[in-house]
């Protein structure tokens, strides 16, 4: 008997005749019901009802619901289609579909829990401390200044990936900001967004504030282009595809980096744990994992030491608590990545330092799945094709470059951890237009501080400030 996950049409369950069957292992199956694109558009004709349902509840109350939902997400048995799912079953099922080890699923759960339980801090960070009444009245005061914000959309569509459950934390503030959300789950991770939605509904959010649409690529396009605002995740190709739609924000390739300054480079051994964590945390699958390290000196020594540490991260079974590497649900994808790296290594100026330390090839089959073992490539040229790229496993390059040349070479970068105390270098970093998030000091690139927006500012994406003057005291 397969578990069924129907569509949630603004809170109303709908069983589609178009379905996708997935294998949960152990003879268990999962059937997700597929929404045809037109069905999503028709639901958007009723989005006013969803918005009205959220409008009827004070934002303070919604924030409290979100905090309560955080606990339910972590601890409760929650509805999944025709059944219920305990946290343990969630971990096991998601691991079966995505090949994330249990330990990493739990780590992602913790991140989502934090985003929900600290939603006031998150929203405060996005609004720069405005009170939540801004979402009830559209009006608040900052000092003596009346401030008026209005919603730019009545819906947020989000097309989610399968490889990083924690990215769901990005949309979580939206319903607290009174914007209904329509979600397209990744094929292999219908569980996480649904579990968050069900936790929110159980905590008190109106059901009609949520749409959950497993759908096709065309359905995903429809969701993103028809909702007033859309968020997508993907590759450079995805960024390009949606670049003509100003209403869509695409979280593309991160190309996150660690830059070590001239002033601290001789102390590199102290920072080795930061480098290891930045490259390998979350199985190296996140856009906030480091994919390139720029150093002014000691490239080979650092590469050798880091490669030795990374090579210790070996494939383990998904239920092994020590597991750090993810298997690939799609073995052909692993083969493609491995083949591409292998072929680019044949170009002069690149050496796989991890090959010196690891047992066997990069791509291995173990515990009934395919893994790519951590890989660190030292490049002699920052323009080598392996120097500024990222892959869906612990992969990084290391390049030697004078400090003064670094910012000219990083290109668009989601996170930079700059290990330096040089005030001039820090000043340059603060003014760089290429860096989305800047960590100053020896912090891993995957460090998340909830009051700082991750990528873009959801509040500014969903709300727009209007100049207001005159007699607003009585409003």
């Amino acid at each position: 008997m397969s578990m069924q996950i129907p569509i949630l049409r603004l809170g109303r369950e709908y069983e589609s005749y178009d379905r996708v069957e997935l294998d949960l292992g152990g003879g268990r199956g999962l059937v997700t019901h597929t929404a045809n694109p037109g069905l999503i558009r028709r639901d958007l004709l009723r989005i006013g009802e969803a918005r009205a349902a959220l409008d009827a509840i004070p934002a303070e109350t919604l924030a409290a619901y979100c905090e309560k939902a955080a606990e339910l997400f972590m601890e409760a048995e929650l509805p999944v289609g025709d059944g219920r799912q305990s946290p343990r079953e969630y971990v096991e099922s998601l691991s079966a579909l995505t090949r994330l080890p249990y330990s990493l699923v739990r780590m992602n759960m913790t991140k989502i829990h934090a985003a929900m339980s600290q939603v006031r801090t998150v929203i405060g960070g996005l609004t720069r401390g405005m009170p939540l009444e801004i979402f009830d009245r559209g009006l608040t005061e900052l000092g003596d200044l009346a401030v008026n914000y209005f919603p730019t959309t009545d819906s947020l569509g989000v097309s989610l990936p399968s490889n990083a459950p924690a990215v769901n934390s990005l949309w979580i503030p939206a319903p607290v900001m009174k914007v209904p959300v329509l979600l397209k789950p990744g094929r292999e991770d219908p569980f996480t967004p649904l579990r968050i939605v069900q936790a929110m509904i159980a905590a008190g959010f109106p059901r009609e504030a949520f749409g959950f649409y497993p759908t096709t690529h065309e359905g995903g396009d429809t969701l993103l282009t028809t909702c007033g605002r859309g968020i997508a995740f993907g590759s450079d190709a995805t960024v390009k595809k949606y670049s003509v739609f100003p209403s869509i924000s695409v979280h593309g390739t991160g190309r996150s980096k660690i830059l070590i300054g001239e002033d601290l480079i001789d102390r590199w051994e102290e920072f080795l744990p930061v480098l290891v964590e930045s490259v390998s945390a979350n199985g190296g699958r996140s856009c906030i994992n480091t994919s390139a390290i720029l150093v002014p000196r000691h490239r080979d020594a650092i590469a050798d030491a880091l490669a030795a540490e990374l090579a210790k991260i070996e494939p383990r079974a998904r239920d092994d608590e020590q597991a750090l590497l993810c298997g690939f649900a799609n073995a052909a994808l692993a083969e493609g990545i491995d083949g591409r790296i292998g072929s680019l290594l044949k170009e002069a100026g690149a050496e796989d330092f991890t090959a010196r330390h690891r047992e066997g090839p990069r791509r291995v089959e173990a515990f009934d799945q395919v893994y790519l073992q951590p890989t660190l490539v030292a490049c002699s040229d920052p323009d080598h094709p392996l120097a500024n790229t990222e892959f869906m496993f612990p992969y990084a390059s290391i390049v030697e470059l004078p400090q003064a040349a670094m910012l000219g070479k990083i290109g668009q970068t989601l996170v930079v951890s700059a290990i330096t105390e040089d005030p001039d270098f820090i000043a340059d970093l603060l003014l760089s237009p290429d860096i989305e998030r800047l960590n100053l000091g020896p912090y891993p690139t995957n460090r998340v501080q909830w009051e700082q927006p991750h990528e873009g500012n959801l509040f500014e994406f969903l709300y727009h400030r209007r100049a207001i003057q005159g007699d607003v005291a009585g409003v």
Partner: protein
């Protein structure tokens, strides 16, 4: 009234499958004699006959047509359409029709009365209430050099109405999608729908022909039932059971008759068999004997797949105007058994050939 309960014209007592097969064989003999006789045939087939390793005039049954290789539709791009004029039609003005979304040199088929025959038969299949007699029609879709444009007008006129047209150029849509111009494709579709909505609001329209996707978009602008639409005839893209259900329940609000069809310029029009309540899987039947659809094994195309299994759609067209043996369509479908309405094989749940294994642009229209 929903399409599930709508009455269709009572046909005369339908033949049995065996009688239909015998009638098909007789029709094959007549058509082969016509197309391969110097007195009536066209230059293209008369010349081809000389190259074939068999004498087409000895063909006796439909099964004998399997001696022909698959028709190569490139011929319809390369050859001058005039080479397909049967000598018997010499001197009669003709129409040049082109296929839908083709880019580059289009495939062309010439014709005289076939479209009238096909659409008269279609009209007779449905009762006077399904598409109300006397109602005006609106066609929203590819017009231009397409057979469909004249066919829908003929259908409307036959049923006592006039026909309005809103054109959509599928070649431009295909090009936009190919160029990654999603936004422009969306704007173009909106432009088409704007025009259609205007006509529906300001003219007395009772019946629609359009593609399912345009139908969806139109119904997002207005309640088609409240706007007076009573019957919708649609075709052109894959319609899964879920999609049919969605169209009938939500787009047409369970109040408008729906006639999904499968067809193209080369075949004509395959009508979908009557469905029971809650049944959304479509089965189309070719206008036999003028056209025959077979569901063949893609690896051994002389063989039919068993009933209930997917195979590639093979079309044979057998009219005096056009002879086209064993053309492999770019579609696959489930082979379905004959039924009372149509005592020959049907094709179910049509979808693009091998659509599970490659990207197919089906168009936004």
């Amino acid at each position: 009234m929903s399409s599930l309960t709508a009455t269709t014209s009572p046909a005369t007592t339908p033949p049995t499958p065996a009688e239909a097969a015998a009638a098909l064989d007789a029709h094959v003999r007549e058509m082969v004699a016509w197309h391969f006789s110097p007195e009536t045939g066209c230059p293209y087939w008369l010349e081809r006959a000389a190259e074939l390793p068999f004498d087409p005039r000895e063909i006796d049954t439909f099964a004998d047509l399997l001696q022909f290789p698959h028709f190569d539709d490139e011929v319809l791009r390369k050859e001058d359409p005039a080479r397909f004029i049967p000598k018997a039609f010499s001197g009669r003005p003709y129409n040049v029709f082109e296929t839908g979304g083709t880019t580059g040199m289009p495939k062309q088929r010439i014709g005289w009365d076939d479209f009238r025959t096909d659409y008269t038969e279609f009209s007779e299949h449905y009762g006077p209430d399904f598409f109300p007699q006397g109602a005006n029609w609106l066609m929203v879709g590819p017009t231009g050099p397409r057979r469909l444009r004249l066919a829908i007008e003929h259908l409307a006129n036959l049923r006592g109405g006039a026909c309005y047209f809103i054109d959509l150029d599928p070649r431009w849509v295909k090009r936009l999608i190919g160029m990654g111009e999603m936004r422009m494709a969306k704007l173009y579709q909106e432009h088409v729908i704007d025009q259609a909505a205007t006509i529906i609001r300001h003219r007395d329209i009772g019946c629609l022909f359009t593609t399912p996707k345009l139908l969806e978009s139109l119904a997002e602008r207005m309640s088609l039932a409240d706007a007076g639409i009573r019957g919708v005839f649609a075709g052109g893209t894959t319609m899964t059971p879920q999609y049919v259900r969605f169209i009938e329940e939500e787009v047409l609000e369970g109040k408008i008759n729906f006639a999904p069809t499968y067809g193209n310029t080369l075949m004509g029009l395959a009508i979908s068999r009557r469905r029971g309540p809650g049944e959304y899987s479509l089965t189309y039947h070719a206008p036999q004997p003028r056209a025959v659809l077979r569901i063949v094994d893609p690896e051994a195309t002389t063989e039919l797949v068993p009933y209930g299994e997917y195979g590639r759609v093979e079309l044979t067209t057998l009219t005096k105007e056009f002879f086209m043996p064993r053309f492999l369509e770019r579609d696959e479908a489930i082979r379905r058994e004959p039924c009372d309405e149509f005592p020959w094989d049907g094709v179910g749940d049509v979808r693009p050939f091998q659509s599970g294994s490659k990207t197919v642009i089906e168009g936004v229209y």
